[in-house]
Each structure stands twice: as structure tokens, then as C-alpha cells.
């Protein structure tokens, strides 16, 4: 398969997953803001959400004070925000369009229809009238994209690169949510008492569709330790770090080439580490420290995949590599905007 094709497939999946995760975080925040709480806590909540994607500085530069309306606007439709739902869905659709011949008709039409429907929702301002309904729509379009991939694509290399994108992005997002939410939990802004903590953790679980799963797995009170265990170590929980890494390892194995040995070892190492670690140890070390290390490794893994498969003859590396844990984005050197056009002969 062409390296560029693999690159587009991988990023199509990453951006689709990212749009879903942005929607998840926004949705939980919107729900949580309905709870009685101090204005300070409310503000802090929105700030935390921006913190997950490291967007606080960009937001304040553009909007100033934090209001729910502005944050939603920024995270839903701001084209300058590369993590906004609109930016992610545009990138996903553009990547799909670049390789539409490699996708099944159903996968391409799903991505294209999502983009066309989004235009309509933005025009109707659905996300302002009824944010929850809009965010629910985003999540379901992502489910559909994944479902149609599983249900119609041949399980060949193209499929493997789509899955790699999905699970690497998901690992990144789950880790970020855990990191930021647990930092917030340790601060004093949560309403005191067991009840405040319960609602906070419940919201965190819902953001990764894990509330019912938690009930099923533990049948017991919601504690930070168990929440962390579920989202880090439960192999059967589809959004847990260990489940994501298991999928990354399996798909990397299927596309293995002469260059990819080290990248495979790295993925296997991460999986084994998650598998073996005890939650007690992780919390003793500090969840933030653990997640910082994990995110750095995921980043390195992303770079390894790019180097081994997607950009085999590397373009000159950009001099200034941004902060290690910054969300990865597609490099411009591959594909993206080819501004040079030409007049057709006919």
C-alpha cells in the first residue's frame, strides 16, 4: 500500500476519534454544569476541559473570559482551533476524500455525509439550541464511521492503519481525561464530601461511556482507585489504556515491515507495563507523573509509525518540536494542501 494512502487512512481515523472525544468531554461538562455548584467551580470546570487539549492559552488570547457559550463555540465550530469538532471532521473528511478509492463506498459516504450534515447543524445552530443533542450526534457519527469500517472493509493493511489511528488516538484521549480529572479531584474546588466526589467521578465515567460498565464490574461505591483501575487496566473495557494498547500491538504486528521492529517493541513494552502495573503503585507514584510518561510514549509511538510506514523517506524534520505531550497533528509535508493547481487540457 502507498505510504501516503496509509497516512491518510491513519489520520482519517485519528481525527474521527478526536472529534468524538471532544464531543464526549464537552457533553460531560455541559451535563455537569447543570449541577448546583459555585461559579468558581463552574469556571474551573471549563478551564479543566480546555486543559485536557492544552488549549487554555489559545482560548484566552481569542475570547478572554471563560463563558460556557464561548468555550462551546471554540470547541465546536472554531476553524482556528485544530481540535474543534468542525476542524476534526473536516480533516477526517479531507483525508477520506484523498483515499476514497481505497475505502469502501459505505465508509466514504459516511465520512462525506457527516461533513454535509455538520454544515446543516452549524447553519441551524443546533449546538447552541441543544448542545447535548448535537454532541450526541457527533458521537453517533463516530460510532457509525467505526461500524461501517468494521462491517464493510476488507481486513487488510488499509484496515490495520485505520485501526492504529483509532486506538492510538483513543489511548491519548483517555489518558488526558484521566490526568486532568484526577488533578482536579486533588484540588479543593470540588464540592466537599462524598456526594461531590461521586458526581464528579460519575461524570468522568460517563465521558468515556463507562458509568454502566463500572456498575457492572464493581457493583460497589465509586472510588478514585477503581475508576483509575477500570480506565487504565481493564482489558475488556473498550476505552481503557490497556485495551487500546492491545489493539495497537495487534495491528502493528499485521503491518510489520523491515523498519518497524523498534516501534513494535515500544508498543509491546507499553502494553506489558500497563498490564503489570498495580493501581496502588501508580497512585503512589502520582497519576499525573504516570500519565505524563504514558503520553510521551504514545507520542513516540505515533512518531515511530509515521517514520516506519507513513513517511518512509523522511522530509526535513521541523526544527522546533513542540512540547512533548502536545496533541499530535498531521504533518503538512505529506499531502494536505497542494495549492498548485493546473488547468485541465479539456
Amino acid at each position: 500500500m502507498l505510504s501516503r494512502t496509509a497516512d491518510h487512512l491513519y489520520w482519517m481515523a485519528r481525527y474521527t476519534e478526536r472529534a468524538e472525544n471532544t464531543a464526549r468531554m464537552l457533553d460531560v461538562r455541559v451535563q455537569y454544569s447543570l449541577m448546583p455548584q459555585s461559579e468558581r467551580a463552574e469556571q474551573q470546570g471549563w478551564r479543566t476541559m480546555l486543559g485536557v487539549s492544552e488549549l487554555e492559552a489559545q482560548f484566552s488570547a481569542k475570547y478572554g473570559a471563560l463563558t460556557q457559550k464561548d468555550v462551546i463555540d471554540f470547541m465546536v465550530r472554531d476553524p482556528d482551533n485544530m481540535s474543534s469538532i468542525t476542524s476534526c471532521l473536516r480533516a477526517a473528511r479531507e483525508n477520506a476524500r484523498a483515499v476514497r478509492g481505497t475505502l469502501t463506498t459505505e465508509v466514504w459516504e459516511t465520512e462525506n455525509t457527516t461533513w454535509l450534515m455538520l454544515q446543516q447543524h452549524l447553519k441551524d445552530r443546533l449546538f447552541e439550541r441543544d448542545p447535548s443533542q448535537f454532541l450526541e450526534w457527533v458521537k453517533y457519527r463516530s460510532h457509525m464511521s467505526r461500524g461501517v469500517t468494521l462491517g464493510t472493509m476488507l481486513q487488510d493493511e488499509a484496515f490495520n492503519f485505520i485501526r492504529l489511528g483509532t486506538f492510538l488516538e483513543r489511548a491519548d484521549n483517555t489518558a488526558r481525561i484521566l490526568d486532568v480529572k484526577f488533578r482536579f479531584l486533588a484540588s479543593d474546588t470540588i464540592q466537599a464530601g462524598a456526594q461531590g466526589e461521586f458526581y464528579y467521578l460519575a461524570a468522568l465515567l460517563r465521558s468515556v461511556s463507562a458509568f454502566e460498565i463500572y456498575r457492572k464490574v464493581y457493583r460497589d461505591a465509586i472510588t478514585p482507585e477503581r475508576v483509575a483501575a477500570l480506565l487504565i487496566k481493564n482489558e475488556k473495557m473498550p476505552r481503557s489504556l490497556v485495551a487500546c494498547m492491545a489493539a495497537v500491538v495487534a495491528n502493528l504486528h499485521d503491518v510489520r515491515n523491515e523498519l518497524s521492529h523498534d516501534t513494535e517493541r515500544l508498543a509491546e513494552g507499553l502494553y506489558a507495563m500497563l498490564h503489570a502495573a498495580s493501581i496502588g503503585d501508580i497512585l503512589k507514584e502520582g497519576l499525573h507523573e504516570f500519565m505524563t510518561r504514558f503520553l510521551a510514549s504514545v507520542d513516540e509511538l505515533g512518531n515511530g509509525i509515521s517514520r516506519d510506514f507513513l513517511i518512509p523517506v523522511a522530509p526535513p524534520a521541523p526544527d522546533a518540536v513542540p512540547a512533548q505531550t502536545q496533541t499530535q497533528t498531521q504533518t503538512q509535508t505529506q499531502t494536505q494542501t497542494q495549492t498548485q493547481t493546473q488547468t485541465q487540457t479539456s
Binding site: M1, L116, T343, Q344
Partner: protein
């Protein structure tokens, strides 16, 4: 406008025999059903993303080409004649290209003035003496044909560089079959769906000598090109890779593509990029669309480009007037299809005639394409004609003029109901070891009343084209 030939009606009350079954059917359809089907068609094209980009508009903006549900129908006898004429014409054009890049017999015989060829910007000296598989240059030709009267067909242009539109031919048929399946039960419409297979077979037969199981790719300038949909479509239908310049590189005069499993040799490149952009080392150095060293690989016979570099010297509008001579020179046959009489404005007498008759003529840029920069005299205002006259006088070499043909018209859905609109036809002719085509082509329709410009870039639409079997 002079009187024109109507494809469906021989007079106001009489339907031509080959349109009989369709006209019957149409008469039985309730109007709301047709409206509903037309809306369904548009929705489907949007969802599938069958779009093209328009230059000079909002950069990268995608548009749908309007699709009309009334087919253009051609009977078997007329198609047989068209097909014979196309095979003859494209065969002669390939013979001509081979001659130009080898012995230049036609120049030595004085049939075409040498300077017309050798000073032509489309002539590529780098291709001189290069041996190509089967001596074929224009593997894919999209010949534009119009009808003036009963059995009276004219070739407007031989598109021998990177002709586009075949994906619309195929998608239009698919749409018609989806919207009106019963129609195809009532009419014996010749199938066109095997075009991609025919194309792939053809591309494989022109692979460099000695390549077993050749690797074919489609080379596109990228998704911002107006015809990107078609490039992706053809690659997918043939089951070959769709590549951009950056996916290929040349090493040891051999072309490779970069894959997730390392380099893979490429044997045939169906390129949809103009000559100028193909190889920055040989042509425009600023081009980022091409592949450095590609020309070397072609010259070494290590890769086949379809179409070959330098075919533009045969479809240039300044060479067009000589095509009937080529047919006689190379094949010793009388041309089956007519050429439109052409005044070459570089000639003093022709220029004088053109200037004296601008309101009646169509004037085109010699190197123009896509319906840009042309004058349709009868459809222009006096001011437009005057403005054009200035440009023509300033640069007579840049123009040719032709009488305004009374293009045939086909009933078409417009705002006010069904009305005749002018059409043309672009069949796609494939050349390799043999010359072949699928029965059909792309019918383009000028949606403006009285307009003769069918190009999609100028607001033209398309129709399904039916060749009826006997």
C-alpha cells in the same frame, strides 16, 4: 439562431423512431414523480461526492455538474458510422504523432508546414526518436463531436492530452439505472460499464517490453484538481493505486512508488497531469506535482506514460485543420467524420474574412481549452465582439475561426419545463495493440437557452448517452 436538428423530434409532432419507447414512457410518468427522481439524483450525486472544482471561484470549492434525466439516444446505424470514423481518425492521429517524433514524412511531403510543428509549444523535442510500445502516443482520446443535421457529424476537437469526463459517462448510466430501472427493460441500451476493464487491459498491453504482470498506477495532481473525483474513481474501478508525484521517485531510470513495505517498481503511469508539470527537471522547474527524472525513465523505455509526452502537437487547434490530410496521407482513406471548416487567423486572407464576419463566427484560442476565452459571434453583444476584435487583431496567430454550427439539441429539463438545449458528445477511444471503445460517451448539454458552450466549467450539464442495439 438558425434552425437546428432536434434529436428527439423530427417535427413538432413526430418522435424519431429510436426515441419512440422513451417518449412513450415519459408521457406516462406523472410530473411529480419526475421531480422527485430529479431531486433524488441530485441528493445521490452530493452524497457520493461526484463533484468537480471550479477554477477562479472560491478556491477548492466543489460543485455538482447538473445531470439531466432525459437521455441522448443514438441509433445503431449512426453509432456504427461514428465508431468507424473515430477509429479511423484516432489511428491516423497516432500515426501522425509517431511520424512527427521519428521520420517526419508528412513534413517532408509538404502536407503540413514544418514550422507549424517544430515551433509549436506542444512539440517536445525530448521525445524525438524515442521508441514507444506499439508506437502509440494517444492511448486515451476524448473526441468532441457535434451533429448539425441528419447523419451530419463534425469533430470539434481531438482531445489527446488528458481528456476527462469518462467517470460522468459511467456515473450517469449508474444513476439512470437506479432511478428508472424499467426503462432499461424496454430499451436495448448497449452497456458501457466495462470501460474500466477495457482501459486496464489497454494500459497493460502498452507496458514496457519484458515486464511480466505490469504494475499500473493513476497519477493525479491531487484532490484540489477539478477532475480529482474521476482520477480516484478510475483508480478504484481498475483496482490500481492512485498516486501523486510525491509518491513516486526515479532511481536508475526506473520509477518506484513508496509503499508501507518499501519501494515497488511502476511500469505504466496513466497520468492526469499536463506535460508541463510532469518532470521539474525537464519541464517547469517549479512544479511540485511531478516526478523528477520521469522523462529519463520514459526515454530509457523503463516506464510507459499514457498518454505519451508531446501528444498536444496533434490536438492543437492550429493542427486541427490538417487532420483530414493526415487520414489520407497515412491511411489512404477518405475521412468518415467531417472537420469543421477552419479559418486560420495567422493567414492574411483568413484573418480578413474572420474580421469581416465576426458576428457569424466562433473564434477560439489556438491553445485554449475548457470553453475559456472564446467568442460565439451570434450569441455575443456588439460590445463583446468589438472587445474580442481588439484581442484578435493584436495577436492573430493565437486564434482560429469557424462557422457557427447549428448544433443539434435534445429535450432537457429546465426551469420552465422541458425545452431543447444544444448538446455535444465525447466518446472515449482507447488505443493499444488495437483501437477500441465502449458504445457511448459523455453527452454534455448547454443549459442556457441558445447557448452553444457545453463545458462544465461554463455551467454545462450532462446526460446519459444511449447507443441502441439493433
Amino acid at each position: 439562431m438558425p434552425h437546428f436538428y432536434d434529436e428527439m423530434y423530427s417535427d413538432a409532432a413526430t418522435v424519431r423512431p429510436h426515441y419512440g419507447a422513451f417518449a412513450n414512457w415519459l408521457g406516462q410518468q406523472p410530473p411529480h414523480l419526475i421531480d422527485q427522481k430529479r431531486a433524488e439524483a441530485e441528493l445521490n450525486f452530493q452524497r457520493v461526492g461526484i463533484t468537480f472544482a471550479v477554477y477562479g471561484d472560491n478556491a477548492g470549492k466543489e460543485r455538482l455538474i447538473p445531470f439531466d434525466i432525459i437521455p441522448r439516444v443514438i441509433n445503431a446505424a449512426e453509432w456504427a458510422r461514428l465508431q468507424a470514423g473515430l477509429v479511423q481518425r484516432v489511428t491516423a492521429l497516432n500515426r501522425f504523432l509517431h511520424d512527427v517524433y521519428h521520420d517526419q514524412a508528412i513534413l517532408k511531403a509538404g502536407i503540413i508546414p514544418s514550422e507549424r510543428i517544430l515551433n509549436n509549444a506542444q512539440y517536445r523535442p525530448a521525445m524525438q526518436g524515442v521508441k514507444l510500445p506499439s508506437d502509440i502516443y494517444a492511448h486515451i482520446a476524448g473526441v468532441d463531436i457535434v451533429r448539425a443535421g441528419e447523419g451530419e457529424f463534425y469533430v470539434l476537437e481531438d482531445n489527446l492530452r488528458v481528456p476527462s469526463g469518462v467517470s460522468y459517462m459511467l456515473e450517469n448510466r449508474k444513476m439512470m439505472m437506479r432511478l428508472f430501472p424499467t426503462l432499461f427493460a424496454r430499451n436495448r441500451v448497449a452497456p458501457v460499464e466495462h470501460y474500466p476493464d477495457l482501459l486496464l487491459d489497454n494500459l497493460r498491453t502498452v507496458a514496457p517490453h519484458g515486464s511480466q504482470d505490469p504494475t499500473v498506477v493513476v497519477l493525479t495532481p491531487g484532490m484540489h484538481n477539478s477532475a480529482y473525483f474521476e482520477h480516484a474513481f478510475l483508480a478504484q474501478q481498475m483496482g490500481v493505486a492512485l498516486v501523486q508525484g510525491q509518491d513516486l521517485y526515479v532511481s536508475g531510470a526506473t520509477v518506484y512508488m513508496r509503499t508501507t513495505r518499501g519501494p515497488k517498481q511502476v511500469d505504466v503511469i496513466y497520468r492526469r497531469i499536463d506535460d508541463d508539470y510532469l518532470d521539474p527537471l525537464a519541464f517547469r522547474p517549479e512544479s511540485t506535482l511531478g516526478v523528477p527524472g520521469l522523462l529519463d525513465a520514459v526515454r530509457a523505455g523503463r516506464v510507459t506514460l499514457t498518454n505519451a509526452i508531446g501528444t498536444g502537437v496533434a490536438d492543437d487547434k492550429s493542427i486541427y485543420p490538417y487532420v483530414p490530410d493526415m487520414i489520407e496521407f497515412y491511411l489512404g482513406e477518405k475521412p468518415i467524420l467531417n472537420n469543421v471548416p477552419t479559418y486560420q487567423c495567422r493567414k492574411k486572407d483568413d484573418l480578413a474574412y474572420t474580421l469581416a464576419n465576426l458576428p457569424e463566427l466562433v473564434v477560439k484560442e489556438v491553445h485554449g481549452a475548457g470553453g475559456y476565452g472564446m467568442l460565439v459571434g451570434p450569441a455575443s453583444t456588439a460590445a463583446e465582439i468589438e472587445a474580442f476584435r481588439q484581442r484578435l487583431v493584436a495577436n492573430p496567430e493565437g486564434y482560429i475561426a469557424q462557422p457557427t454550427l447549428a448544433l443539434s439539441a435534445c429535450p432537457t429539463y429546465v426551469e420552465s419545463g422541458i425545452a431543447p438545449r444544444h448538446i455535444d458528445l465525447r466518446p472515449f477511444v482507447l488505443s493499444g495493440k488495437t483501437v477500441s471503445m465502449v458504445p457511448g460517451g459523455l453527452t454534455r448539454v448547454a443549459l442556457q437557452e441558445g447557448s452553444l458552450v457545453v463545458n462544465s466549467s461554463q455551467g454545462g450539464g450532462t446526460k446519459d448517452t444511449w447507443i441502441l442495439e439493433n
